[in-house]
Symmetry: D2
Subunit: 202 residues, 4 copies
């Protein structure tokens, strides 16, 4: 069996050709995952889709969530990437989390949500402070709806307090980020493999 | 001079005629504000508008933020109301916060953001736990972009852990909620009045 | 191989014979773990110890952390239990997290912290709201220092908003709490077993 | 009437002569407050005191909280300073917040807590990310127990992600920190003056 990862980019920028620091961080992780023989099959630019507000798995006409939901659940690892705004995760990221609320009612006969056995990691970028607040929000919400969080599951970069540099504009990937990305990928790949072979029993 | 309040309802439900627990909490606060001679002039159902993703004050064609922004800034008090999802504030609330990020660059000659001298309070409802996490997110973000937070600025209700009762379906307003609403309104009215008469100097 | 769990009770009450709602929640989890053949070998009342402030693994004379640290690392699962104060985890819980900061520098030749391969779950109690904020704080901090978080890792109870009932005084364990405890224990036991047989590679 | 400020330094270092980045940030704020004719009369090194765990205003023999509590309440402005650990406020800071929980039951005949009319600001330092999570925790907790939060109430510095530089070791105060400190001090001084002349009515 092989382990596959999907990246979702929760930038506020809707145009997939607009450069995004979240994409730059996904690229760093993609390479780290490749070294562990895990393919990141696709990066979804969520803002380019029409993810309707709501907490069901299908909010009707024009809702792009059902397709994204299916894609997410067809992978073993979710790279949840996005920018920091106001020291926190952004509204696009929050929208995705919200739609996963429906997992709570979609359990199988053993009480397991569709996310059970799947592993999530955070990829967070910002000009400045907010990565820990963002990963706290992500980990709590994702865990509530059934995701497993591997050891050291946050790969992030922010500049000095009140700075204005973008991760995508750095000349080189900071050594600490590259090192963290390797660990995040290694741990996620390992754990997803274990859970794929031996699922939670419920 | 008189002090005026605006309520924004950040429910995920777009149709203004859909009953909302956030509206029910706003109603409790509205009465408490009335006792302090502060009119809540309007409740804006944010999900019924098209608030585009972004961090500027105008994201172009079809963006309803410029009008909402103007309305918010024409009042002295903002009642920031919304539901808890996943233990946190929802994506509609987050979207509003995000758009206020632009205040950081819209300072006057004394370095004051457009929100300076304005007072914000939180009105939070949920079936269950998440009010403190929500108010922490709101207070930090709102304060960063210039809002003042009066003493005891959160009026909230949640049911018992993992419960499913809605605030709007309660037969009576719980005594503690009514008491808190009075205090929130009294403190916000007082502080907004002071700041209206004597603005921050920058 | 067998999987063993340790519970730490981060109540503010130092006397082990003082009734604690955290202990009551640990008891619910203990039974759920027993059904999965995982023994909770001991509950440590942290406030009864002298855990010195600091971020090293030994803060010198009188520091009880080295012994607690060893005990924690001798188990596969950590039940991190404690009360909500001010909508957040308490100072005793925060102290324990802080001392684990030293794990960051205690990696083996493969870059693995002593917590690698160990699984943590949260057991949170309060009169009222704050469980999600608490689990967010716990999950982010524990994950940063190498703990793995199994699916649905928070077992919690709080009463209605601004309530004053203690979990330890409830006549019966609420059905939702009992159900959640079973799931938390099942997932944690499963994941700890997998990681014991097949450790992270670093 | 004059407005007075007290600084509490919630570093984990107990010895007042140990250099502390929190002290360095307090020094920046002290000068900014002086320009607004507000004296920071004292900096209390909290870790040097014996603040017992608990949520009453006096936990008995050896408890240094009653004295610190009195000192805090004898000032108009509280500069709540401390380091980031694990992306969050530390255990010493959390202990102080916890002890203020007692304010909830210490209301006067108009329902006002002892903190009413007093203004709190945050001074946060860390090698790296965590300032927004820390200020969110502080603002929510302090506000719950009656503190008023002036516009732009957080003065902070952190280095680049996963960095290791201390604020106290910077050659110069970063321009953005100096600018923020001026604004924090100006807003806090203004608001404390207003509330001193015209207290909340309850």
């Amino acid at each position: 069996m092989t382990v596959k990862a999907l990246a979702i980019n929760c930038t506020l920028k809707a145009k997939p050709d607009e450069a995004s620091s979240s994409d730059a961080m996904i690229a760093v992780l993609k390479q780290a995952f490749a070294e562990k023989r895990v393919a990141v099959t696709e990066t979804v630019r969520v803002a380019a889709l029409n993810i309707l507000p709501g907490v069901s798995s299908d909010e009707g006409d024009g809702d792009d969530w059902p397709t994204l939901r299916e894609k997410i659940l067809a992978h073993d690892i979710l790279i949840f990437a996005g920018p920091i705004w106001m020291g926190q995760i952004g509204s696009i990221a929050k929208r995705v989390l919200e739609r996963m609320d429906a997992f709570l009612d979609e359990t199988d006969e053993a009480g397991r949500m569709p996310s059970y056995g799947k592993v999530a990691v955070a990829a967070i970028v910002g000009n400045e402070d907010g990565a820990h607040f963002s990963s706290a929000q992500l980990f709590q919400a994702l865990n509530d709806v059934g995701w497993t969080i591997p050891a050291v599951a946050a790969c992030y970069w922010v500049g000095e307090a009140m700075g204005s540099t973008d991760f995508k504009d750095l000349k080189d990937t900071p050594e600490m980020v590259a090192k963290t990305a390797k660990m995040v990928a290694s741990n996620a790949a390992h754990l997803a493999g274990l859970l794929q072979s031996s699922p939670y029993e419920g």
